[in-house]
């Protein structure tokens, strides 16, 4: 495990160990690399340390040992607010469900990252003219009619539509990385496939590297690479310990 990370690796974790205060290690990852443009499927049952790993990648959590580099930038070396800015500039997130703020319109939800990242705001404007136009364009490409939907609040549209709006938000301003945490688990199998298709198309168009985390291995064939978290994580987890 001493090999050098590939020159084009966009995420590189080395000897990463993380433990919650007064707890044992939940993560002990000797090496994890994600190449630029890759569509990585990271599989792990719940409790396998997925959320912790995402927190570390997002710079919300800091590992006690090892290094974590995103876009060549060591996250440990950044201050808390610099990590927040880094996350805002370079990483989009899509969660399992309830991704949207109910008090904002769909367009406002999509342009939300641009409030916190001038870089992404500028890129979105350069691409779409105005933030609203870019948000509308993203929605259209994800198969949603902004004009018809925007009259309704985030809680009034279907879960599948909500997830697509969340993808639009994660991709506005073309961040380098999109981290999706079980984004399809609330969808039925038909919408799941079409959602993934749209997600891939959009990631390719924007040039975003996708890290997709799920427990559902049936989706794995659609991705360019599959990693099992259990395989790369040396720390025993609750799930594996409890497994028969």
């Amino acid at each position: 495990m001493k090999e050098n990370p590939a020159a084009d690796s966009i995420i590189a974790l080395r000897d990463l160990r993380f433990a919650w205060p007064r707890g044992r290690d939940v993560l002990d990852v000797p090496l994890l690399q994600v190449a630029r443009g890759e569509r990585l499927f990271l599989q792990g049952p719940s409790g396998s340390g997925k959320s912790t790993l995402l927190g570390l990648l997002g710079g919300v959590l800091i590992a006690q040992h090892g290094s974590i580099e995103v876009l060549g930038q060591s996250l440990q070396k950044l201050s808390g607010s610099a990590r927040d800015r880094f996350r805002a500039d370079h990483i989009g997130f899509v969660f399992q469900m309830f991704n949207l703020l109910p008090y904002l319109s769909l367009i406002e939800n999509i342009t939300l990252p641009c409030r916190f990242s001038p870089t992404r705001a500028k890129r979105a404007q350069a691409h779409g003219g105005s933030l609203q136009d870019e948000a509308t364009r993203l929605l259209r490409e994800l198969g949603l009619d902004a004009a018809a939907l925007n009259q309704r609040s985030a809680s009034e549209i279907s879960v599948g539509q909500q997830q697509r709006v969340a993808v639009a938000r994660a991709l506005i301003g073309a961040p380098e990385i999109l981290i999706a945490d079980e984004p399809t688990s609330a969808l039925d199998s038909d919408t799941r496939e079409s959602f993934l298709k749209l997600l891939f198309e959009e990631c390719t168009r924007v040039g975003t590297t996708l890290v997709f985390v799920s427990h559902d291995l049936s989706l794995a064939p659609l991705f360019s690479r599959t990693l099992k978290l259990d395989a790369i994580n040396r720390a025993g987890t609750f799930a594996t310990a409890a497994a028969p």
Partner: protein, 419 residues
């Protein structure tokens, strides 16, 4: 600022709870500012009851007592001042003018004040306002009476109407001076002072209605008609108190000492301003208690807001995690909650002030007629602005508590969305 629209929309999303919080704060602010406004204006109105008079002289008692019975017509004189002493002191070289006051009778609960026509020019109130006549003129004949605005309004009296004065000062009188009725010669304009509730007649009239009386009771069998009474010598033997104006203010303390050391009879001279202050000092305790109570109500209102914000924090963890995921720093979460608290407080204050002026606009009339206090709908005074600033600061300060909790939550939760 990107936070303000977020805070507004977030509050709007919880508009019912937010409205209740705003109402709680509004009501407490209305109470606080209302108490402050009425307190300060009552004090002003109180302090402006008499002005331009340098000394008030009466029988020896206490300063507050003398002020209360001579000016406010509350309570009774302990003793009278002899006409001779009054004459002598009035003729002192320092004295510019003097106005005697003779009390002891009433008309339907309103005090009858025996005095001289100088009263109408010498009695000043507020910032040297003189008494003005709504209609008619000062008393001329012995059986003429001038009534205050409140008397006229309450009893519906008009000029030239006949009234009968009762003996004693109770509101229900059994002994009336029916044989010597008075004609209303003038009605005074409203002043907001006890003069409004007075019936003013001449000193001679006081003498005339008591001419066939002795020791507070009618002498049986001895009746002197109103016209006959007029022909007798009506020089009073005593007065209750008198007001003095001096040629030079510098002489005030000297003359006061002179009167207090007066050999012929025990007298007391007081400076109205000092006595008013002393009297307000007594009332002031209740006034501060009111202000403290209303401040506590405001604190209760802000605590209500605090509770409302804190209880929603758990269900808003998701919202915070979403904001964090799109790049909001924990301090943005902190700022968002402080801003929400500030918005609620400011809205509450604005609504509270609106309530206050609305209530005052309706209550202005009744307060003036019942208590003689004119509450003007002026812009907030500097003290009121200070109170408003304090409430705002208190609201923002209260917002720090939920903000700190949310800050800690968002540090601990990170991006994990908890249900």
């Amino acid at each position: 600022m990107t936070l303000l629209p977020l805070a507004c929309k977030s509050l709007l999303n919880r508009r019912f709870a937010a409205l209740l919080t705003v109402l709680t704060i509004a009501v407490s602010v209305t109470l606080l500012l209302g108490v402050e406004k009425i307190r300060s204006q009552a004090r002003d109105s109180f302090a402006s009851t008499i002005s331009g008079t340098d000394l008030i002289v009466g029988a020896r008692s206490g300063a507050v007592n003398l002020l209360l019975y001579s000016i406010f017509h509350i309570g009774d004189a302990t003793n009278n001042v002899s006409w001779q002493s009054y004459q002598e002191i009035s003729k002192s070289p320092q004295v510019a003018w003097s106005v005697p006051i003779s009390l002891g009778d009433s008309h339907k609960g309103f005090r009858v004040v025996g005095t001289t026509p100088e009263f109408f020019t010498r009695y000043h109130y507020g910032a040297h306002h003189e008494l003005a006549f709504d209609s008619g003129k000062p008393f001329d004949d012995v059986y003429d009476a001038v009534i205050g605005a409140e008397v006229a309004a309450k009893l519906g009296y008009t000029l030239d109407q006949q009234i009968v004065v009762a003996h004693g000062t109770g509101s229900v009188s059994f002994v009336e001076h029916k044989d010597k009725p008075f004609r209303i010669s003038g009605i005074l304009a409203r002043t907001g002072t006890p003069v409004d509730a007075s019936v003013l007649i001449s000193l001679q009239a006081i003498e005339a209605i008591h001419i066939d009386w002795q020791s507070g009771a009618r002498v049986p069998g001895q009746t002197i008609s109103a016209d006959d009474a007029k022909k007798t010598d009506l020089t009073p033997k005593t007065v209750t108190a008198f007001l003095l104006g001096l040629k030079s203010k510098v002489a005030t303390f000297g003359l006061q000492r002179q009167i207090n050391d007066y050999r012929a009879e025990p007298l007391l001279a007081i400076l109205p301003g000092i006595a008013l202050q002393e009297l307000w000092g007594l009332v002031g305790t209740a006034e501060s208690a009111l202000l403290i109570v209303s401040s506590l109500v405001v604190i209760a209102g802000l605590l209500g807001m605090l509770t409302a914000l804190v209880t929603t924090l758990n269900e808003r963890r998701r919202e915070m995690a979403i904001l964090r995921s799109v790049g909001a720093r924990p301090r943005v979460i902190f700022g968002l909650l402080v801003l929400e608290a500030a918005l609620l407080t400011v809205l509450g204050i604005v609504l509270g002030i609106a309530f206050l002026y609305l209530v005052l606009a309706f209550a202005q009339g009744p307060i003036e007629t019942h208590y003689g206090i004119l509450i003007s709908l002026n812009a907030p005074t500097s003290r009121e602005l200070l109170l408003i600033a304090l409430v705002t600061a208190g609201g923002i300060f209260a917002g720090i508590v939920p903000a700190t909790l949310a800050y800690r939550n968002s540090l601990a939760d990170g991006l994990s969305l908890r249900l």
